[in-house]
């Protein structure tokens, strides 16, 4: 199928090349600028070009207790929300991909809804529900919100892999005497493992970066994005903010790259020949 396309369309028009290149530059230059600002010696304004370069802000940012606390809270939240999402998303994906039942479409819609509706709606809905039920804001209210929209990420990855995994493998394992739990541990898990890992990493990155829902469910607690948002609205520590911004970019890039390499060869799953 693919070869008939490559046939004669080898060379691209120059205008198209330029427009695509300019578009990609537009996507990447702003992020690169962050990296330059992290080293600037200027601390009172956003002066360009930077008068001089220094690395002292990294040490200062690391010593700041508020930055550390926010970072730690973000890591804990993202890890817990990812764990919840992994369990719920996998269960949902297994149910939807293995069987056909009444309301199957509705379940797919329900899973996607938290990410399809604007975050502010999810946020304000959760907040008013918390106040109606008189639940005080805590670590768990943040996790509650995050896990809700992380489920869809795990679900999407898992459902795609389940579709490609042959059901006869499970039957064969059961016929050979394994019980359901052994089958899960030795047959299902190795097959969907990389998809779950990729989904989990993306869910972690999503939760680590989430700010809109968090503003409604965090109360007085500050995750790293909330800390960033406060600095954006009322800049107090420009150099520290620059360093934190650069670190956040660096930290979120790693799971994305890893997830990409894990799912790239996802087509080669055992039992696919069927």
């Amino acid at each position: 199928m693919r070869s008939d396309r490559t046939g004669r369309s080898g060379r691209s028009p120059l205008m198209l090349k330029l427009a695509a290149g300019a578009g990609l530059l537009f996507l990447h230059l702003p992020i690169l600028i962050i990296f330059v600002y992290a080293f600037t010696t200027e601390e009172k304004s956003y002066q360009w070009p930077p008068p001089d370069l220094t690395v002292k802000w990294f040490a200062i940012a690391w010593e700041r207790p508020d930055v550390r606390d926010a970072l730690w809270l973000s890591v804990r939240t993202a890890a817990t929300a990812t764990a919840v999402a992994l369990v719920l998303g996998t269960l949902c994906a297994a149910a939807v991909s293995r069987t056909r039942f009444f309301g199957r479409e509705a379940i797919s819609l329900l899973v996607i809804l938290p990410i399809a509706l604007p975050g502010i709606i999810t946020g304000i809905a959760l907040r008013s529900a918390f106040s109606l039920a008189e639940i005080p804001f805590s670590f768990w209210t943040i996790v509650l919100g995050h896990a809700t929209f992380c489920v869809v990420i795990v679900y999407n990855n898992a459902v795609a892999r389940f579709r490609r995994t042959s059901g006869s493998l499970i039957e064969a394992s059961m016929d050979l005497g394994a019980n359901g739990f052994q089958t899960f541990a030795h047959v299902i898990l190795p097959n969907i493992g990389t998809a779950l890992l990729a989904g989990g990493m993306l869910a972690f990155a999503l939760s680590f970066d989430e700010v809109i829902v968090t503003t409604f469910t965090a109360g007085q607690q500050a995750t790293l994005p909330i800390w960033m948002l406060e600095e954006l609205v009322r800049p107090r520590q420009r150099p520290v903010t620059n360093v934190v911004a650069m670190l956040v970019v660096a930290v979120t890039f790693l799971p994305i790259l890893a997830a990409y390499y894990l799912t790239r060869d996802g087509d080669q799953v055992q039992g696919q020949g069927k």
């Binding site: 329900l110 005497g177 359901g180 809109i212 956040v248």
Partner: protein, 315 residues
């Protein structure tokens, strides 16, 4: 004969074994067990709070005491039509429309090149080049634009170096979209919106363009059509569902955002900011809830049109 007896295995031993036999024979029960935790979570926590919110939009706030009156009324929805509130809706929807159009124009060459010309390594590079900005921190991206648009920032510096400051000033002098500087004008808000949502437009567009069969394009060229004609009459109609799918994201995300206009833009509110203000300091939850219904209704209508155009198959 013994082989036949072997074929039917005896029931499994142990609690786990008996449990898995039991579940294997009752697929309905097994399905129920698998679906209960996610459905409880999403159904109660998410849909429950969503309904609680929608319910509130039918209450109203007592103008004298400032307390919520728990009786059914459409008064809060009528308030949306007051000029000050209706302006907010019009402003947000027009911004969403302009952002979607601009994102479409910028995304098209990237998606087209990636879909039709990039091969092998380049293809992977293109994919990552779109995925990395898509997934990198939303706030950091907004922050980067705050740096770029600042008075002492790189954009003003660039205009000064090129001796084009007069052009920038002329642009900012335009009423409505202009302002004192880029970071407090609608132009600034627009730029940040386009930047932040652009990858959401590129990916579905590229997926749709990849599905346009190459031989149709060759056939069109063989029949004498120029590049532009082929694009207008063959490629574009076939890729339209993907473009609409991408526009769902850019449109919906712009409708609901309240952070970008708060950080880069004039002081005039967008829907998201109005919701935030009403539920927070003002304590007017019913009006905030009614405001959230606006993007839901607009997106519902948008999705309905998109579905008729077949955009969901392109997601």
């Amino acid at each position: 004969m013994s082989a036949a007896a072997e074929a039917i295995r005896p029931p499994r031993d142990g609690t786990l074994g008996r449990l898995s036999d039991f579940l294997w024979r009752r697929p309905g029960l097994f399905l129920l067990l698998m679906l209960t935790p996610p459905l409880l979570w999403l159904g109660i926590i998410y849909v429950g709070s969503l309904f609680a919110l929608l319910l509130q939009s039918f209450f109203s706030i007592d103008e004298f005491s400032g307390l919520i009156r728990h009786e059914f009324t459409l008064k809060t929805y009528a308030e949306l039509l007051r000029p000050s509130n209706f302006d907010i809706i019009v402003r947000t929807v027009s911004m969403a429309a302009v952002v979607t159009l601009a994102a479409g124009v910028i995304a098209l060459p990237i998606a087209y090149y990636a879909a039709r010309y990039a091969r092998g390594r380049w293809k992977a590079a293109f994919y990552l080049a779109v995925m990395l900005p898509l997934w990198s921190s939303y706030l950091v991206k907004v922050y980067a634009w705050k740096l770029i648009l600042a008075k002492e920032g790189i954009l003003n510096w660039l205009f000064a170096k090129l001796h084009l400051t007069w052009a920038l000033e002329a642009l900012l002098a335009i009423p409505v979209i202009g302002g004192n500087s880029l970071s407090v004008s609608y132009i600034g808000t627009f730029l940040v919106f386009v930047y932040v949502w652009l990858p959401f437009m590129i990916l579905p567009m590229q997926a749709a363009l990849e599905r346009v069969p190459g031989n149709l394009i060759e056939a069109s060229a063989d029949l004498g059509a120029g590049t532009g004609q082929t694009f207008r009459h063959v490629v574009f109609p076939l890729a339209l569902p993907g473009i609409i799918a991408g526009s769902i994201f850019t449109f919906s995300l712009t409708l609901g955002d309240y952070i970008i206009p708060q950080i880069v833009g004039s002081s005039r509110l967008f829907i998201g900011q109005a919701v935030y203000a009403h539920q927070g300091t003002a304590g007017n939850i019913p009006l905030a809830a009614a405001f959230t219904v606006v993007p839901i209704v607009i997106m519902g209508f948008y999705l309905w049109v998109a579905k008729r155009q077949g955009a969901f198959d392109a997601l």
